[in-house]
Amino acid sequence: MATPKFKVGAFQARGGVDQGGLPVLRQYLRLIVIFLTVVLGFMSRPAFPAGDAEKGEEIYAQRCTLCHGEEGDGMGPAAERLNPPPRDFTMAQYKIRTTAFEEIVPVDSDLVRMIHDGMPSTAMPGWGDVLTEQDINDLVAFLKTLAGLEEEEPGQVIDYGAQVPISPESIETGRKLFHQDDRCSECHGQAGKGDAVKKLKDDSGYRTWPRNLTKPWTFRGSNDPRDIFTRITTGIAGTQMPSFDDPASDGRLSIEQRWNIANYVNSLAKTEKIVRPENTVIRATRLAGPVPVTPDDPQWQEAPSSTFLLVPQLIAAERFFTPSNDTITVRALYNQDEIGFHVEWDDRTRSIPGDRAAKKVSEPGLGEDAVAIQLPVKIPTGPEKPYFLHGDSRHPVNLWSWRSGSTTEDPSVALVTARGIADKIVRDASTVGLQGRGSYHEGTWQVVLRRPLTTVGSAEDLQFVEGAFIPVAFSAWDGSNGERGSAHTLTTWYWLLLKPEPGNKPWLFAGFAFVLILLLEIWWARTAMRRVRS
């Protein structure tokens, strides 16, 4: 995965994963180191030593062919299992460049940056940790020969004019421009989540998705307003992301308008959806009243949330390589009788089999969207847990799932006991009182699944208890992305904790400790004084 590029407030995240700890302090340390490196770098050598294409070819053969192909045509052996696919360098199309729309030649520093930092949310890694600056310059020289650009003068860098600083007014102006005549929302959706109503393909026919602008850690560039300004100005070559500075188009925007939109896009970041690796526990909050039934009940927002990365199922049965869902956010509430989970994930498409509009944006074979919660049938007493992929023969798991329904069928809830990916028994959810409800709004699914804490006469179901750490895992299916059966995304085991009220026990024991120690001290002092006197 690529190096950090995403900045919000005082922390940096990498691939949507917050690096945790004491972000602000470490941020400063890092800034100092970067500053020193830059200063020393400037003092010691010219900014861009020329690259040697022949040396670049050698490095390319060793490091890049498996993805970008021996001929540089993007047809390496990995291509069919990657989305987006590795770039075809013979086409001279670079997504992240600073030269104007009508130029084809990038400036070298654009390519240097992408090779050094990598492209988040794609297989393209950053090479800055293994290649030297000279290596990267050699590579750039070689890549240009693949597109016949070696003799070309670098293109003209776009005109940035005067940057409009971020302010509520600028963001508001940007918001209006974003939505005016569906300018950006046409593809990026009303809330910016990329929940397109259009099926987009890039120039080579691969499926592309408009970026989810609320998750800036997935940007190939970054969400710095200057970077966003550049993308809006140049467009994204080879994809349907247009240029808004194309002189030939009547959609052309002024420099100031583009800065305002950039500031608005920058403000869309949803930082609570960043994955914090140290946050491995879902803390269910105890309620006095009933557990809310509907996903949009405001009570859910009061429960602490945990966000986990969704990983494609690469491990068993039919494997799956090109996911579209990337994270899942979970909350839990309970009372003396029942527990409810609230799961939320961004999904660009609402997949309704039978629906014509849904079929239009779907990959072949439209299925339902779905989510599942996995829990062990027995809470482990030692370190041993069920195998994280649907349990094993000695350690069964419960799968509570919810499916989004079709034009002819209502959404449904299912209960499964699994002893491994190939051994699943579907049971009647209503016998244990498992219920669910879902809602889709502007590119986000929210689903509530509820069940009584305990079930009677069933050895096949988890009995929840307060204070125990219960393993829990999640799976999700995007029915428009060909996800069904074992083709889906999943998380590893995390923890669920029903945090009991501490009651008055701590007070009692604290008081006891105080009195005990005080008595001992008095006893000690008295014997000591007696000894001194005698």
């Binding site: 700890g21 498996l66 993805c67 526990v281 068993a316 750490f469 590893t492 085991w493 945090k499």
Partner: protein
């Protein structure tokens, strides 16, 4: 220079070690030590430091004298009463905090390189892991050209199957690595394949997470059992690639 009292020295040393832990792990490495582990470390630190400070009778006396004076000298009554009140107070607070239900995830310890079985059933055959060798390794000397081809084939197997987790730089930082626990291993690190024999890798790759013994927590390892997806030849080829790309040498029986 005024001498720091021994008692204060004791407190300073223990506090310093604690701060050192925090500075190194929390602040610089960004990997805080779990509280339960920290308690254990600090228990050893406190006992160790106490042992040093009470090594001779003289040093013990220096440590204990001020405490004894506090209790015995009538002139220090006020001070004594304050201390006698503060100490149980602190203890009560500690007990109170300790009694709060913990919401810190339980620690999961696992052995990374468990002892392999002496033989294993893979591809429906029995392999003696003690004598098993990579059938292609000898080509490195005997037929370098064919060897390069096999390495390239291994690279293809790797990029199509392994890079998602172990990363295309073989550094354990594949696109999905952060979503897995335990994390995929870093083959560039000298602590992984550089320490291992090719037969061990063959067993690990073919049987994956589910093939691990209990002490290596097979239930959480996401490493797939590749005998389901790859042929025996492909596994040997990908092993050639792992060593070739990282520049490590496999351990061999001859070296021991």
């Amino acid at each position: 220079m005024p001498k720091i009292p021994r008692l204060a020295q004791l407190v300073l040393v223990i506090g310093g070690i604690y701060a050192g832990f925090w500075l190194i792990f929390d602040l610089l490495l960004g990997q805080p030590i779990p509280a339960s582990l920290m308690r254990m470390y600090m228990f050893f630190v406190v006992t160790g430091v106490l042992m040093v400070f009470t090594a001779t009778e003289e040093s013990t006396r220096q440590l204990v004298d001020p405490i004894r004076a506090l209790v015995e000298e009538p002139g220090r009554r006020l001070m004594r009463n304050v201390v006698f009140f503060v100490v149980p107070g602190l203890a009560a607070v500690a007990v109170f905090l300790q009694m709060q239900p913990s919401d810190e995830a339980p620690l999961e310890l696992r052995s990374i390189h468990p002892a392999p079985p002496s033989s294993a059933k893979i591809f429906g055959k029995r392999y003696d892991l003690m004598s098993l060798e990579n059938p292609y390794r000898h080509l490195e000397k005997d037929d370098p050209e064919q060897f390069r081809e096999l390495v390239t084939d291994g690279g293809e197997v790797y990029i199509r199957n392994c890079q998602y987790c172990h990363g295309d730089k073989l550094d354990g930082k594949g696109p999905y690595a952060q979503g897995l626990n335990p994390v995929p291993l870093n083959f560039q690190d000298i602590g992984t394949i550089a320490q291992l024999q090719e037969s061990f890798l063959f067993w690990r790759i073919a049987t994956g997470g589910p093939g691990l013994p209990k002490e290596a927590t097979p239930w959480i390892s996401s490493m797939p059992a590749w005998q389901e997806f790859l042929s025996e030849e492909q596994i040997w080829q990908v092993i050639l690639y792992l060593y070739d790309y990282t520049g490590h040498q496999p351990r061999s029986w001859g070296h021991e």
